[in-house]
């Protein structure tokens, strides 16, 4: 039975939590994030739409001291302290051979055949759709009372070598720390554009 919510708005507080008051944190309170919380984030994010349900994201949740040290070595100077202090940093990767999974992920038709022999198309589709999934990950984490700190300052080849050595068809899209944000680590919010600046109703 399909449940619909036509014209129903989330509460003002919920909209504040996932969009209006949420911030990207640079520093973190000394408070753990459990494996159960990471599972709960994924249970929500996997429900978000991807093209032909391709679900190309492959996520490494970096939590142990050993894995953190490996990741810190791959990120830019300005991000090292952030990753070190964060309880968890998610590496949002993607599989450029995601189409091998389509027979069970999209069972109603032979979607695998759409992508065979089109590696460029797969790379584009996997990059786009794993970025969507990274956004779902952040909104899901916020919806569960956690904060995020997304970053794109890292050496992609080094991250892939350190974390995807056994999966040579996996690439990294971006990384995102997760935890309980430290209010003192952020400045005023950057300005946001008015609708008319970057939108047109045609």
């Amino acid at each position: 039975m399909t449940v619909q919510f036509h014209d129903q708005h989330l509460s003002a507080e919920a909209l504040d939590q996932i969009f209006r008051e949420a911030r990207s944190y640079n520093g973190w309170l000394d408070k753990e994030v459990s494996d159960e919380q990471l599972h709960s984030i994924y249970e929500l994010m996997k429900m978000g739409p991807t093209s032909a349900n391709m679900q190309p994201a492959r996520v490494v949740w970096v939590k142990s001291d050993e894995a953190k040290a490996k990741l810190v070595a791959c990120v830019s100077e300005g991000n090292k302290a952030k990753v070190e202090a964060a309880p968890v940093t998610a590496i949002i990767g993607y599989d450029i051979d995601f189409h091998e999974e389509l027979p069970w992920l999209f069972p109603h038709t032979d979607a695998k055949s759409w992508f065979e022999g089109d590696e460029e198309g797969r790379k584009e589709g996997a990059f786009r759709n794993s970025a969507l999934q990274g956004a779902y990950l952040m909104i899901a984490a916020r919806a569960l009372g956690l904060d995020c700190g997304p970053m794109s300052g890292f050496d992609a080849a080094a991250v892939e070598k350190a974390f995807f050595a056994d999966d040579p068809r996996h690439r990294v899209n971006f990384i995102c720390s997760i935890g309980y944000g430290d209010k003192t680590s952020i400045f005023g919010r950057s300005p946001r554009p008015d609708f008319d600046k970057f939108n047109e109703i045609a």
Copy 2:
């Protein structure tokens, strides 16, 4: 004053609305979406994080019969009827020269200089971050009681010629219909992976 929501979960109903019960619709009820609703979606989506607040998304909300006919001519056979029936279809584009706007979008430092002379880096950043913004758009629409129908089956060069002719540095990422979904237009939900299939805690 920074507002935080540590360990506070959105209600089960809100999580259903934005993730668990939301579906990608193929057909639409005959019910209009107002310009005010489109503004409300943007007011939320623009709060989502982008790298250095680059906000690369440039959105054309296709609503008039004339604009719809132009877009229908650019989409794949299987998507023509969907776009025709939808009250609105958003073209989520991006500006590969987004860095020109960084002096006011990211005023605390000279972020524009990071991207000058690096067109490949800008293309990658704009594609990644406009995909994030497309995901925020969909979650925001759902959070306001609307449904989405994202699509990547279209001729990108044709869309760019038809809608971005005056902005030769704009590209299209994906398109997404918005309205009140018709329950009879969807089938059972495609399977979702278990955590262990595509995730690792390191």
